[in-house]
Amino acid sequence: MFRARPVAVAAALASLALAATACGTGGGQQTGGGPWKPDRPIEIIAPAATGGGWDTLARTSGRVLEEGGLVDEPVQVVNKPGGGGSIGWAYVAQTPDTPTRLFVTSPPISLVPLMGGSVYDHRDFTPIARLATEYMVYLVPEDSPIESWGDMVDRLEEDPRQVSIAGGSSPGSMDHVALAGAVEAAGIDPTSINYVPFDGGGEAMTQAVGGHVDAVVTGASEAAGLVESGDLRPLAVSGAERASTLPDTPTLQEEGVDFTYDIWRGVMGPPDMTDEQVAYYEGLFTDMTEEESWKQQTEALGWTDSYMDSEDFGEFLDRSSTDSAEILTTIGLIEDGEGR
């Protein structure tokens, strides 16, 4: 996954220690009564409006949990849109005494706070489980003279102005970080890249198909249709393995670039959850990912299973957050050490 660095490990250890103390202090009234079970409906917060990726994840989880009979209490999906997620995060962070209120999450939980868009980051919540992941893909229009990832790097080296690269979100967000990290690992100054942000991956790809930009970076499953039709040609995917939706596309590592980027998706809870509560949810979401309907749904959405339990997920979050901070610092979007 991410390149491990001494800094990352230290940060992970520090935050583990913090998490341990938090877990120790928070569980006062709940301990002693056997395994914990929710005593009211489970709320899954989607910190975005209906129809987006978080909403899809929340609703799919809710449905699988209820239909599979995995929960005694109903599961309610609640949308808390606004602020790129920060409104929903603030809502959960301010109710530490409600262990039935979870939220679905993905890389913005570390990117948005790094960019100054939220006062809460992943360390303010209890990691529960990482569920699935997806990769980024770098594509060019079908008739582009760019032949491969290496060819694009050569052109960028020669003159970065030659290649304008579209993405579906603003600078400092997933698409930009995935691009900047990859070109940096390939030995190009990421600040020289001409990144053109559009409103969503769909718009960015449309602009590439129309030849208005030279390349585009977006989620692998989102691009599958236009790749299959031959409108866009994939150069590389950002995963450690090839994407199931794009089996013929090499990974960056196969192209000689030591960089991976995950669009991971997971579930987190409010701060100060007890060990019993975390254990309950870990079991619940493990069962969920084993349901047949979950597997069907995630396959249709182009997500790969990548389950991690609470502890691994927490460490992973610390690592990926440190990596993102480094990339953002290199691009010059944040000051050194800011946000950490």
């Binding site: 409006a49 209906t50 129809g51 987006g52 909403d55 899809t56 609703r59 799919t60 449905r63 609640v78 949308n79 808390k80 849109p81 606004g82 602020g83 790129g84 920060s86 409104i87 603030a90 960019m115 100054g116 868009g117 939220s118 102005r161 304008s164 603003s170 600078p171 400092g172 967000s173 001409n194 053109v196 942000p197 559009f198 409103d199 969503g200 769909g202 718009e203 790809m205 449309t206 602009q207 198909v209 129309g210 208005h212 930009v213 599958a224 249709g225 236009l226 299959e228 039709s229 409108d231 069907q296 749904q297 249709a300 959405l301 979007l333």
Partner: protein, 517 residues
């Protein structure tokens, strides 16, 4: 020929009893939800998605598409009757629809809206059927420079929407553009005008401004008038005579074509389409100066435009797998969960679904007309509701609509704020329409301009080297210069030319008497 055959198969799919039933349910539910101010197609589809899960994917998309155009039509009903647009695409309808309703011609306005919507939707479906595969290349042919030029052309409508005092119109438009800049700047991720409030990071939602400036401001003026004025309780027949149908034929036809092609462009959508149609008709109509005071053409043009655009926005979704609007983005998400990947392969891999959907859109349009024409007298009775009941209801719907969108109390304060702003603007002769236009087009115009300059490394010639952009900017210049030329020419003919408005006035008076029962 092949298309006809496939279309036949499509009708086979659409005419199965199950699918017919769900088209009907979808259209009905969409209309009812759309009528409530504040609830547009996005909310309507979001509400129906849980029902769609578990259905056969073809049936589900047929139903959700029915919800979509039902909601757009329902939105025009509340625009006309209450001046409370539930959908951005029907804001332009309220400019003439509400004045018509106040003059007692609510039934007629609703009938015009129904007929124009039906025509727009049908023209859209026919075009979709005939040229959808070719259209995908049109949808991708617009680059950032071209979008910028399109938005500039759209903004010239300020001149026609601005009313008597062009300066006040321009001020309102500038304020609208300023409001559109609030939030995270998409090009640099910088926060602008948010005053540290996370609630403003994603900008000011269009619907809040529209409901505040139109519906709440209207409520405030009604309160201030203490019952005087307001809607005329008398009701005209909804039947349109041949002459009236003849008058709206042109605007409806042009609105349909313009609307469809605007809708095909990802990101432009029904709202831009309705404004473009409205201002184009106002400009070319002989009685253009009566637009805004209840001209039937001003209802027909945007209604045809927004429904045709709603159909058009399916083109990028079905042929490219790219949502053309916020609403189709939600539809796309629903389809993915149902196991369908709309996109370039859909036409070859799932032809029954593609053609079934196209055919059911056609059926849905007929259902919409059949369902709504008989209901119009019922809808129009809303205006007979005693003021003491109607005003609180409008306020309730606005509040519910806004709160239902974000579950945020902050947005309710914004709604109230824009209501007060809207009231003050009215009291001081500032038109609200240019502000809405600036809000819709401003952010898109800015974003496209900066994207274009980013791609060209700051080279401004990019705006004239792209043929679309050059043509659209050329048209903008013509549109702005033409009235000056006309004025100079009439000025040369002498002051008598000033009487040019009297024939229009006479026609308007005639129309007023004709609408009495």
């Amino acid at each position: 020929m092949e298309t006809l055959q496939q279309m036949g198969a499509g009708f086979g799919v659409a005419f199965t009893p199950e699918n017919l039933l769900f088209v009907f349910i979808g259209v009905l539910a969409g209309t009812v939800i759309g009528i409530l101010p504040g609830l547009g197609p996005m909310s309507a589809i979001a509400l129906m998605i849980p029902i769609a899960f578990g259905m056969d994917p073809t049936t589900a998309i047929i139903m959700l598409a029915g919800v979509y155009y039902g909601a757009i039509f329902g939105g025009s009903t509340s625009s006309i009757l209450l001046n409370a647009p539930g959908v951005a695409g029907t804001v332009a309808t309220s400019f003439d629809g509400y004045p018509m309703a106040r003059k007692g011609a609510a039934g007629k306005a609703l009938a015009i809206a129904a007929i124009a919507s039906f025509t727009g939707g049908t023209v859209g479906v026919v075009l979709l059927m005939l040229i959808a595969p070719v259209l995908s290349s049109f949808a991708v042919s617009f680059g950032p420079a071209d979008y910028f030029a399109l938005m500039v052309l759209g903004l010239t409508a300020v001149v026609t929407l601005g009313g008597r005092n062009i300066t006040k119109g321009l001020i309102a438009a500038v304020v609208g553009v300023m409001v559109s800049l609030v939030g995270i700047d998409s090009q640099t991720a910088t926060l602008r005008f948010t005053f540290g409030m996370p609630e403003l990071y994603e900008g000011v939602k269009f619907l809040i401004v529209a409901l505040g400036l139109f519906a709440l401001a209207e409520v405030f003026s009604m309160l201030a008038r203490r019952g005087a004025g307001g809607a005329d309780g008398s009701m005209s027949s909804l039947r349109l005579n041949r002459r009236e149908l003849g008058r709206i034929a042109g605007p409806t036809g042009r609105g349909s074509i313009l609307g469809f092609f605007t809708g095909v462009l990802p990101g432009a959508g029904a709202t831009v389409a309705s404004f473009l149609s409205y201002s184009m008709e106002k400009r070319i109509a002989k009685d253009g100066d009566t637009f805004g005071s209840g001209n039937p053409k001003g209802v027909a043009a945007p209604e045809a435009g927004n429904n045709a655009a709603a159909v058009g926005s399916f083109v990028p979704m079905l042929t490219l797998g790219v949502p053309g609007s916020g609403t189709t983005a939600i539809l796309l998400g629903a389809l993915l969960v149902l196991g369908v990947t709309p996109g370039p392969m859909m036409l070859s891999e799932r032809p029954e679904m593609f053609w079934g959907l196209v055919a059911s859109m056609y059926v849905g349009n007929i259902v919409l007309l059949v369902l709504n024409l008989p209901l119009i007298p019922l809808f129009a009775k809303v205006l007979k509701t005693p003021r003491a009941v109607l005003i609180p209801l409008v306020v309730v719907f606005c509040v519910v609509g806004v709160y239902g969108l974000s579950f945020s109390v902050f947005d309710l304060w914004l709604l109230l704020g824009f209501g007060v702003v809207g009231y003050l603007m009215r009291q001081n002769g500032f038109p609200a329409a240019p502000m809405i236009l600036g809000l819709i087009l401003g952010s898109m115009m800015e974003r496209s301009m900066r994207q274009a300059l980013q791609i060209s490394y700051g080279d401004w010639t990019t705006f004239v080297t792209s043929p679309y952009s050059a043509a659209l900017l050329g048209l903008t210049v013509v549109v702005l210069v033409w009235p000056l030329v006309k004025r100079l020419r009439t000025g040369a003919k002498g002051p008598a030319a000033d009487g040019g408005s009297s024939p229009d006035g006479a026609e308007k008076a005639e129309e007023d008497t004709a609408t009495r029962p």
